[in-house]
């Protein structure tokens, strides 16, 4: 028991704080689902608190903002829940106060939440899961959820009620039996309570908005357009919402400025929506504990080939760092190269001797210096050793952002497996953006080994070639066209009377990049597989 004198003293401090206008002490984040009138009205009729105070079903599972959004959409579709504009987002925000993934858990499925990678790697040893689950939905759909054992086991009934035909669809396995087995395993792999979640729950509830607000230094790249640098300004607009301004400058010299609105879920996951000249664009940002760094990704929902990945460092932390260099690859024997170092809290009046780029690279001039960027002129000796360089300037440093090479040894086309969808009339088309990445064989002298040096995207010549699969299908003539920036635009959907069986403009082809490095007569070639397939009729998670 607290001694009476202590209680009196605490009361006196609290009264004094109030009289002096000091902020109340920071409260711990809510452990469960807080009471909320909107929730009570829209959800509470079915999801009532149980005897132990927990809200039925919901407080036994955790999901990403996207996962909760999808669940609420299902309630609207099947349980006749009527929501006004903005109410779905408000409910997601409420649920994510405590019933979402911890930052460390979210990071493992960030690729899926941001929608940035069309392929995913399923951990080894999950053969039954591949048979029974991931043939219809992604592994991230599972890995982005945490449930109690009871809740995991209930998913069998949920699937059978929502998709009753799946037993026949997956008839070569005994789906109900396999599902039982898998769900028991998932209950152990992804339990409701985890050390990461317990640690995250202890965060101060009122600190996130103030901690993340302000200006962030952003470095990123967009396939097909190149790298960019810029800033992300976050201005709190109340209740976890933000006004977001994002301004970036591409390496080609184009500047883009977007403004939009964002919502912070769970104190670390920001989802922002921008209206850009290309269409509605979603930004998915995840702030790391400490509020000094973040990773982000953006995707134009009207043109899915427009996408980028970026990292951010917060201004004002005092931590100096070199984040990227442009160009990031220097050729032996190059002279008068203008090298731009992008970073944060860089020295503003450095001398050439303060900058170290490794043996064989001499800094001849400092051309520009600011806290975010340093532009220097360098000379690369003809015998500078090839390999990765550790860059330092004053207290700032950066690893893996600069390489020295002697020649381009080979090309790689990414993505190695492309997916495009016909469309453009009644259904949206999905284009695919390819890039040709140049590589050097690396210090071991052998190409296609782990020490190869990635030199970055190059301007290649693009073409499409037949992938021989079905005799005489002549897919190349029908599936679409690739432009000289590596963007494949598929043809329209619908039956094509000019093709056998009036089949669609679908097919599989090779996408070929050809590149001749400067000063050589050697032509490098690489190719990637492209599947041009049928359109979607459903995109549930688009908002």
């Amino acid at each position: 028991m607290i001694p009476r004198e202590w209680t009196k003293a605490l009361a006196a401090v609290a009264t004094l704080s109030f009289l002096l206008g000091l902020s109340p002490p920071v409260l711990a984040a809510p452990a469960g689902l807080p009471k909320n009138p909107l929730f009570a009205l829209k959800c509470g009729i079915c999801h009532r608190p149980q005897k132990d105070g927990r809200v039925r079903r919901l407080e036994s599972m955790r999901k990403s903002p996207e996962g909760w959004e999808r669940s609420i959409q299902r309630m609207e579709r099947l349980q006749r829940v009527k929501l006004q504009p903005g109410e779905r987002e408000a409910l997601v925000k409420l649920l994510c106060q405590s019933l979402t993934l911890a930052p460390a858990e979210s990071r493992k499925v960030f690729y899926a939440l941001a929608g940035k990678d069309p392929r995913e790697e399923i951990p080894p040893g999950k053969e039954k899961l591949k048979e029974a689950c991931t043939r219809c939905h992604s592994y991230a759909t599972i890995a982005a959820q945490r449930r109690t054992r009871e809740e995991w086991l209930k998913l069998k009934s949920l699937h059978l009620s929502l998709y009753p035909a799946l037993v026949y669809q997956l008839r070569e396995i005994d789906w109900p039996m396999v599902a039982d087995e898998i769900l028991k395993s998932l209950a152990k792999t992804f339990p409701f309570e985890t050390p990461e979640w317990k640690a995250w729950k202890k965060r101060p509830a009122q600190s996130s908005a103030g901690r993340l607000a302000g200006s962030w230094r952003v470095i990123g790249s967009q396939p097909g357009r190149g790298s960019y640098v810029g800033s992300l300004e976050l201005k709190p607009s109340g209740d976890g919402d933000y006004e977001v301004k994002r301004t970036v400058l591409y390496e080609g010299g184009q500047e883009e400025s977007w403004t939009g609105k964002g919502t912070l879920y769970g104190g670390y996951a920001l989802r922002a929506y921008f209206s850009t000249s290309e269409g509605r664009t979603k930004g998915t940002f995840s702030f790391f504990p400490g509020g000094k760094t973040m990773e982000g990704s953006w995707l134009c929902m009207d043109k899915l080939y427009l996408a980028g990945d970026e990292i951010g460092h917060r201004w004002g932390t005092g931590e100096a760092k070199v984040l990227s260099l442009s160009p990031g690859a220097l050729k032996q024997g190059s002279s008068h190269v203008h090298l731009a170092l992008q970073g944060i809290h860089l020295p503003t009046s450095p001398r050439p001797a303060d900058l170290h780029l490794g043996p064989g690279i001499a800094i001849s001039k400092i051309l520009k210096a600011s806290p975010g960027q340093l532009v220097v002129e360098v000379e690369v000796q003809g015998n500078a050793p090839i390999g990765e360089r550790h860059v330092t300037v004053g207290k700032a440093s950066g690893k893996g952002i600069l390489v020295v090479y002697d020649r381009v040894d080979y090309l790689q086309v990414v993505p190695e497996f492309g997916l495009a969808r016909v469309g453009g009339q009644a259904n949206p088309a999905k284009a695919e953006q390819f890039e040709a990445i140049a590589y050097n064989r690396g210090p071991d002298g052998t190409p296609h080994t782990r020490d190869d040096l990635r030199l970055g995207p190059v301007k290649a010549h693009w073409s499409v070639e037949e992938y021989f699969y079905s005799p005489e299908d002549r897919d190349v003539e029908y599936v679409g066209k690739i432009d000289q920036n590596g963007l494949f635009l598929p043809s329209a959907e619908g039956p094509n009377p000019q093709r056998p069986f009036k089949t669609n403009n679908v097919g599989n082809v090779w996408v070929v990049a050809t590149y001749r490095p400067d000063g050589t007569d050697q032509e490098l070639k690489a190719k990637a597989f492209l599947l041009v397939t049928v359109q979607l009729f459903l995109q549930e998670t688009m908002n």
Binding site: L78, E120, I122, R135, T141, Y168, P471, P495, T541
Partner: protein, 107 residues
Amino acid sequence: MKHVKAINLRAQALEARAKGELPDIYALQMQLPMSCSTVFDPGWEVDGMFGLAGLCQPMENDLYGCSADCWWPAQVPDELVNYPGWSDQCSAAVRDWQKIKFIQGGP
């Protein structure tokens, strides 16, 4: 087998596949969050041999066979539970495919 030589295109393609020119692909997730992958035997996007010859040609020939009994509920609205009546507005998909509704987001 080393004395057998592929002389037509399909045999050459099979030979290339056997040499491992194409690694195994197990999922092609859609470009949107929390979305779904494919069934490859055949699937909505691709057949079991990672081609398109195994799909209905054209797809519209059997579209309602896919939607009514929810064969690919991630890609085509199923009419059994989630989207009943989706195809009511278009009785002949091959002819009137432009009338088929695309469901984007929301309930």
